[in-house]
Amino acid sequence: MTSTTEPTEPLSVEQLSATTLLRFATAGSVDDGKSTLVGRLLHDSKSILTDQLEAVERASASRGQDTPDLALLTDGLRAEREQGITIDVAYRYFATARRRFILADTPGHVQYTRNMVTGASTADLAVVLVDARNGVIEQTRRHAAVAALLRVPHVVLAVNKMDLVEYKESVFAAIAEEFTAYASELGVPEITAIPISALAGDNVVDASANMDWYGGPTVLEHLETVPVSHDLAHCHARLPVQYVIRPQTAEHPDYRGYAGQIAAGTFRVGESVTVLPSGRTTKVAGIDLLGKPVDIAWTPQSVTLLLEDDIDISRGDLLVPSKDAPPTTQDVEATVCHVADEPLTVGHRVLLKHGTRTVKAIVKDIPSRLTLDDLSLHPHPGRLVANDIGRVKIRTAEPLPLDAYADSRRTGAFILIDPADGTTLTAGMVGESFAAPQPVKDDSDDDGWDF
């Protein structure tokens, strides 16, 4: 893997187009060395360019800082620079020979839980940082809980500042064990703990010479090799219809295609499909993959389905395999993260957007609020304010085909919108908050930390 750590050699055109894409999120604070870690990943993958670095150096110098403050790379808003804080999710982009990365860099403090939730909502992997001197603290548990709630498939625990604990295996092992036990209990399916020093460069891009006892991957090696596609055979296939394509031209007088991005699973020509919520059934006659006819298509491809029968289908409908249709319901129980400054209250009339369908809804009950630091429940809080996590019961004006978020991140998710001014109020996940506790596995079917 030395090629990935060689920043001076440009990649060939073939190499560049054969890479996959990994979306990941980082959670932690400046104190944990998050900026240093992100800065090192960007710098060592040659993603910070000379003019950007010069601009950061100028800005840092004008603030009286000796070393370039890499946070200034994307803390680009005037308010952020003036206050020296990150107020929003910053998206950063870098690439190695094997992968393209989209990093959602989120501030770690409790008042920014909504940003962490936003970043984690589309992430395949989350990096949680801890300071080796402090170990697992309240903030670490909150970050683990957000990753578990949002069902991020892969979690990396980066135990940072190993240089300040004399690179001791025992310190790392204790932290890794405590975190893994906690996160596994919340249902995080895969946890990889890596001992690093972001400042000294140990195990970030290059393997550390100071920790012979560790035989696992560096952070970048893990990011480059972690699987991005899942076992689709066990996924429910779902296609929210976005748009009906009807050219009505001499060349295509009868073409009627249902366009959408496959939210989960696979669709095949010849398969029986059901339209929800109407329940009508037909078969897939053809699949257009952006101009190319295919026999099979899978998530997250954008496709156009052609169906055998001419039935009434419009934007907002959900196409599913007939043998695997979710129930439709007007009563939604969900875990939510409130993201707006105005609170969410019982009796609130809202719009609910699920897939491509937006319906009227009312908040019937807020049974509990959850404290992420210790997972304690506060019954009937009456309202949820910005950054609160809670359970809600919602009644919708029309039936919706809902999956449990645990089964399908895209078709188990929804947002609530204020009908008056269009504000995005709340992010919702259908079903139970956390996965059932799993027995801690000790066999080698995960790529754990075999140090």
């Binding site: 936003t118 909502s121 748009y243 366009a259 959408g260 947002i415 919108i417």
Partner: protein
């Protein structure tokens, strides 16, 4: 390390893993279709620059075999490269599209805008753009902006709400979760939509190469009469250069971005093919805006200030 190796084999052999270009293409198509499904009068900002060309290509694919359900809008600064205008008109013709033009020159001629002392017309585009959006009642305006371009754009949403004055308030942005875009807006407000948010310059070029998309010639190395200003090679011409003390010379150059002639610089290059351009960009140590845009060097927050006022 054995466990790691097995994971990597799994990744590469998975038949369901999309290449990064396929993933970005699918995401952009999804965004175009969401807008087609939720808005009444969307328009694509089309300048004949590479990002807007890629946007149009994606829109054509998203709705094929039907026509693109959007019109195009060009904010014409009056200082355009003739090759690019030519490309624009041929493209509109070829796909049977409707083109709206908002002309900065018209505004200057009737005294509604005044020429700046530095001759740069980029900041002057905001007013004609805003007024055209209002008069045509566009409710969704597609822009080719990418988050990797500039730090103020790094925090831009895919769906970005603008008030009736086209203003952007970064503190009032809506969180964007999953792929659930919120396009709600009041009458008079509109939404700027950025389908290429997650693309980098290199992605755009790789996609152009993969799809065989035609570009204006000025993106490839050619001989041109240029002069140096603010460390950039500007094209000599009627728009206002060279001035006293600036000398014209013939150089082998290409354009990395295409905008107003007064503030868009060429770079020294011998890249005459797409592959050569991609290799050149992959090895470049400067961002495209850093290398070629005078207007972004004005201040630390130049882009944020323009964006707040309604710039793309």
């Amino acid at each position: 390390m054995t466990t790691v190796a097995s994971v990597s084999e799994e990744t590469e052999s998975s038949p369901y893993a999309l290449s990064h270009l396929d993933a970005l293409e699918s995401e952009a198509v999804h965004i175009f279709r969401e807008v087609a499904g939720e808005f009444e009068r969307p328009v694509i900002l089309f300048s004949g620059g590479k990002d807007s060309i890629v946007m149009l290509h994606l829109a054509l694919k998203a709705f094929a075999p039907a026509a693109v359900p959007f019109t195009l809008l060009h904010v014409d600064t009056g200082h355009n490269f003739p090759e690019v205008l030519d490309y624009r008109d041929r493209t509109v013709e070829q796909h049977g599209l409707r083109l709206h033009v908002a002309s900065v020159q018209d505004y200057i001629d009737r005294g509604a805008l005044r020429e700046r002392p530095d001759g740069t017309r980029n900041p002057l585009q905001t007013l004609p753009l805003t007024e055209k959006i209002q008069s045509e009642r566009f409710d969704a305006v597609f822009g080719g902006g990418r988050r990797d371009e500039e730090k103020a754009r790094a925090k831009e949403r895919v769906f970005s709400l603008r008030d009736e004055f086209s203003q952007w308030d970064p503190r009032r942005q809506r969180p964007e979760l999953w792929q659930l875009y919120n396009g709600r807006h009041a009458p008079g407000e509109h939404v700027r939509v950025f389908p290429l948010s997650n693309w980098t310059e290199l992605d755009v070029w790789q996609y152009i190469a993969r799809e065989g998309i035609e570009l204006p010639d000025i993106y490839f190395a050619h001989e041109r009469e240029v002069f140096q200003r603010s460390n950039m090679w500007l094209t000599a011409g009627e728009w206002g250069g060279p001035k006293d003390g600036e000398t014209v010379e013939k150089r082998l150059v290409r354009y990395r971005t295409v905008g107003d002639m007064s503030c868009t610089g060429a770079v020294d290059s011998d890249a005459t093919t797409l592959d050569a351009v991609i290799t050149e960009i992959a090895a470049s140590r400067l961002t495209e805006r850093g290398a070629t845009r005078a207007d972004d060097k004005m201040s630390e927050a130049a882009m944020e200030d323009r964006k707040r006022e309604g710039y793309f």
